[in-house]
Symmetry: C2
Subunit: 298 residues, 2 copies
């Protein structure tokens, strides 16, 4: 990529992140609306941090198919970010991963207690579907978006991956189990993010399936990189505690395949995702976003 091209995408990414943050702040109930603790907790964990990768991918999927509803795509991006925020709140709970720091700030339960954290997560999931359901896009496309997001969020994908991740702690690792966990825990929602944008742009069903699968491929690379950063990264940059996977005997890519092979797999998956998204007509921005995923460990 030329430097000029990369700079253009940097600017777009910054703009889109700000647009998502801003819109999320408007859509979420105000911090002083009763019950205030609940609404504060929802805002604490949804605003003021995060790479907004999933939201930006949603906008990109919509743009790729020349969608006519940028407002609907922005709201869907917010819905997806709210849903992602709920999963982080629940993952961090003492009963689950027991993490204290998230996005450089105290985890939700550290500030508001576990009861409010559980309920703030629950409310954010409902909020995601509430926002989607108020979309200005045509109803048939909105229904498709709800279907894609709810499936990715459910027991067969996101939550199922999280359960397998917990149950994998300390168990005998295997390539099959690691792939089961990663493709569900992380990759499904990243795939759905692109697909929801495409669905709201009225993309053909075949293209929605293809872009979802491309997103899952990139999403798998994302989780591998996240595992690598847990081994090699800086806590300050990550905004969360690291070196926990080994302590918890988590079933990670580096634990199963070693650092070098994991890095190589992430690169290969990203190269594949880039080639396939170019084939769908990407002008370069989605490839740039995919590139950012592996850049973190290259």
């Amino acid at each position: 990529m030329t430097d000029a091209g990369s700079k253009r995408w940097d600017t777009r990414l910054t703009d889109e992140r700000l647009a998502i943050e801003d819109r999320l702040g408007t859509l979420l109930p105000a911090a002083d609306e009763q019950p205030a603790s609940l609404h504060e907790a929802m805002r604490h964990s949804t605003l003021g941090g995060g790479k907004r990768l999933r939201g930006v991918l949603c906008l990109s999927g919509h743009r790729l198919f020349r969608g006519a509803f940028p407002g609907a795509a922005l709201d869907a991006a917010c819905a997806i970010e709210a849903l992602h925020a709920y999963t982080l709140i629940h993952d961090d709970l003492p009963d689950i991963d027991d993490d204290d720091v998230r996005r450089g700030r105290p985890a939700c339960h550290r500030v508001y207690g576990s009861a409010i954290a559980i309920l703030a997560g629950d409310a954010l999931q409902a909020f995601a579907f509430d926002v989607l359901s108020q979309s200005e896009a045509p109803p048939s496309n909105v229904v498709a978006a709800v279907r894609l997001l709810s499936r990715a969020a459910g027991s067969r994908f996101l939550v199922g991956g999280q359960v397998a991740d917990i149950e994998g702690e300390g168990a005998e690792p295997s390539a099959e189990k690691v792939t089961f966990i990663h493709s569900r825990k992380t990759a499904a929602l990243i795939g759905a993010s692109l697909a929801v944008g495409a669905a709201l742009a009225d993309a053909p069903e075949r293209d929605i399936a293809e872009i979802e699968d491309i997103g899952r491929t990139a999403g798998l690379a994302f989780q591998i990189v996240d595992d690598l950063l847990d081994v090699e990264g800086s806590e300050e940059e990550a905004g969360k505690g690291l070196r926990k996977d080994m302590k918890k005997k988590k079933m990670t890519y580096p634990a199963q395949f070693g650092v070098e092979q994991s890095r190589e797999t992430a690169r290969r998956l990203i190269a594949e995702a880039k080639a396939r998204i170019e084939h769908l007509g990407d002008e370069g921005y989605i490839k740039y976003l995919f590139g950012l995923i592996v850049e973190r460990v290259s």
Copy 2:
């Protein structure tokens, strides 16, 4: 009501409960689908118990407006029951109400642990929207149903009421606070159940709003009766532990207004709901369902 009329409704209610139970069993992932603990937990808490009041009201709202999609109404009834089951799982968690028995069986976290219980609840909420999104009803009606259910489930209603309920423990009670809690914690989802059925039947917006409000009125009575049963009921019949509200200093109707006045209020609300639903054209079945709510304490 004549005995013959009542018997006819008894039979219909039994049939509808069985139909919901049966369909839920088909829609939920099988207990041996991986991760099995998650799917077992989801089935444990959703099947094999419950009055199915919300699901039956959804079917009734659809029938009242001569809906053409009984299959869509049945699936929506299952979605609502799954969402209700998720709220019970999370309410019972040690971090929230810390209850061990539900519907005459051990609470989800007592069997599967808190982590799986949290995640099973999360997955059931996603499942509810997944099922709704696969509805055979026209997309614009499905979007309306998603909107009604997600709003009722969110921070401004169901979850907000639950937070106010927790925060009300031991606080100075007031009529305003009790009404805030009850109208959100319980009444909103009962109102939405009727409204979702009506929306899937393509009822006019004004009628959807009216039937939702009628359902909330009956739902408020339902929660008052639940409070009364906590004071006066039998644990065996309730299928859960009782006499907990006083111990926890919960802000309940009987605590605020006394037993007699609470019973009187419940009766008055049900009489109002019956009159209004008759006005909307109910042939008698919804009135009968409303009647069952107060019958429990009369």
